[in-house]
Amino acid sequence: MSVQPSTEFHPRWYRAPVSTYWWMGSWRYSLFILRELTSVAVAWSVVVTLLLLRALLKGPDAYAHFTHRMQSPLMIALNIIVFCFLLLHTITWFNLAPRAMPVRLGGKRVPEFLVAAPNYVLWVVASAVIAWFVLRKI
């Protein structure tokens, strides 16, 4: 309510009009939008997980149907693109850590790649552990 200017003669704000396609102007902006779009790939991966859980709940036939559906060429093509976006998310997210949390040792700033590196190590270990659980024979 009180955000209105207090006089009648308040100047109009100047807002430079921005095109809807502003992010196509430069590679940096395009990369920003690509990075933001990784969230769609993340959501899709959760949907796949939910479909798998639903198939497991419904029974062996539903599971066979699920695996068959994942084999369709369209699904494979989609998942290749999705996986690339997931990697983009992981890389941009890990590389952000040293910016969000600058580490100092003995008055000097630790180089960024040294702060980001443990993330990658943890990533590889976590992925290997999950793959081991899924793949091991009982």
Partner: protein, 116 residues
């Protein structure tokens, strides 16, 4: 723009979901979306996956794996629409659709994991 209070909470969810998505989601999609369908690795049996999903730790893990990344998506996709398409007049609709979708997915994952 008169409600600045909740933004921090949603940002926290976004951030936590971003970590989970970066660490754990790629291997899941790689296995079930590429490696198994393309025959790079042998498809695990129904019984094995069911037994795995039924263990208490896996249930908690899978719930976190679904819930937090969905809220990460809701936050980031909301701002992608705001900034990318500049649809400021639809802010409230977008907000409800994004977080509503995330909440729905979270409830669904909870339901599936309780009954599995």
């Amino acid at each position: 723009m008169s409600k600045p209070s909740n933004e921090g909470f949603f940002w926290l969810l976004f951030s936590a979901g971003g970590v989970v998505a970066a660490m754990f989601i790629p291997v899941h999609l790689f296995l079930f979306g590429l490696a198994f369908p393309l025959g790079w690795l042998p498809q695990p049996s129904y019984e094995h996956l069911l037994a795995l999903a039924r263990s208490p730790l896996a249930r908690i893990y899978l719930f976190v794996l679904c819930a937090l990344p969905l809220f990460h998506w809701a936050h980031r996709f909301r701002f992608t629409l705001y900034d990318g398409l500049q649809v400021k007049h639809l802010n409230e609709v977008i907000f409800i659709l994004c977080y509503g979708g995330a909440l729905l997915g979270t409830l669904l994952s909870g339901y599936l994991l309780l009954r599995i």
